[in-house]
Symmetry: C2
Amino acid sequence: MTTSHVIENVSVNKSFGGWHKQYSHQSTTLNCTMKFAIYLPPKIASGEKVPVLYWLSGLTCTDENFMQKSGVQRIAAELGIAIVAPDTSPRGEGVANDDGYDLGQGAGFYVNATQAPWNRHYQMYDYVVNELPQLIESTFPVSDKRAISGHSMGGHGALTIAMLNPERYSSMSAFSPICNPINAPWGKKAFSTYLGKDKANWLNHDASELMRRATQFIPAKVDQGGADDFLTEQLQPETLEAAAQANDYPLELCIHEGYDHSYYFISSFIEEHLRFHAEHLNK
Amino acid sequence: MTTSHVIENVSVNKSFGGWHKQYSHQSTTLNCTMKFAIYLPPKIASGEKVPVLYWLSGLTCTDENFMQKSGVQRIAAELGIAIVAPDTSPRGEGVANDDGYDLGQGAGFYVNATQAPWNRHYQMYDYVVNELPQLIESTFPVSDKRAISGHSMGGHGALTIAMLNPERYSSMSAFSPICNPINAPWGKKAFSTYLGKDKANWLNHDASELMRRATQFIPAKVDQGGADDFLTEQLQPETLEAAAQANDYPLELCIHEGYDHSYYFISSFIEEHLRFHAEHLNK
């Protein structure tokens, strides 16, 4: 397939010797204008292509939150990894929406909607798996080595997308992911709206389900705050852990006492995640 | 003086093994309810009191921006320094305000206003020099060792407050400070409003003026982005540098090519500032 990509630079900031840049582009998958952010480490000046970590953010976020609050650039600069942060849903006036913070714009849940009116734009799975990497790899000095990570709804997105495409990612990780959305209020609301009432169509987007029946493994790291208000009802890491144990999946899961659901938690442990991904990206 | 302080905890987040906390309190100096943030490093668990770096933010900021975006907690945790970030002005419905982003709420400029209606609340100099440290040192496990830093308007605040009170701070630093506000549009607008038209009353709040006539020196570090849109008209680091040279003031000033006025610049160099302050705080 040949696609011509038109992308427009929105902002540039020098950061730790590299560059944080925001772009907008017309997404053919999502049928709207999308923004994303990329951090390019200083290493690109050498002419060598760098691997990419895709970061999927949580409910209500845009491309900005992780880039502004995680401190990831320091470690990405050191390790020579590019970071790409897409938005969390299609956007714009003509895009279906909902009054809730957990549905519609800002809450795409990284699935391909099958239900009207959502199916016209809400195709975040295809966007993250196909269109965005194609755009990134044809535009920037990056290799086709990829890792994927995310937070909360984006942690769910990272784990499910990686397990559905194990040949595309060398490692996956998540902070505070929604581990079992088919049995959590956020997931049930989003999946019934985007995918319809038939729960059989939800199973492919549940990290615990995928981990329990995976036949191809990629290294996985999950960190969860022990003082996270959403831990018991929405996140359910114990279900993911049970699935990993049942299937001997290589999952490193750690509960960190006292940490909550915020970027203060993410920033405290993002360095460990980048070093984990670097180890597998550089194999 | 004996004062009873009533402060209320607003939020708590664990961060790098320590704690980020927001508080509100009734300020007698500012005559309104104020919020501030404090980062307490893990070292306080040992029972040993830690020194404090006061951080003064720039125009439009609150106590939140620096704590969320600078990544300071990682280094403060390592070095055993508490960080205190006050708001940038008095706040509230009864507090005088202006439609401009560079005057009124969010733009206190760290001076004591003498002009009505501003003088009723806008006493940020006294708040930062006296009331806030008294509150911090009587409430938290911190020593009376202090350093001060800030960004833009807050860089102006940090340098002027430190030079007017060299016995109270062991070191001072700034990112992109307004170095010569008496000759810059932001400074002239704020000072004429808060301090009146007589420029003689402005001189004590101009870092370049103070540096040129200082008789007691404290170590000073200033970093400035070379691609900062405000560099020439508003910030004027060359004036500060000339003042330091004329008076043999111990100023380390560095211009960083390509960096702008954003927190991406601050986060890239905050570690150097903390190590600079730690060296002097621990003497």
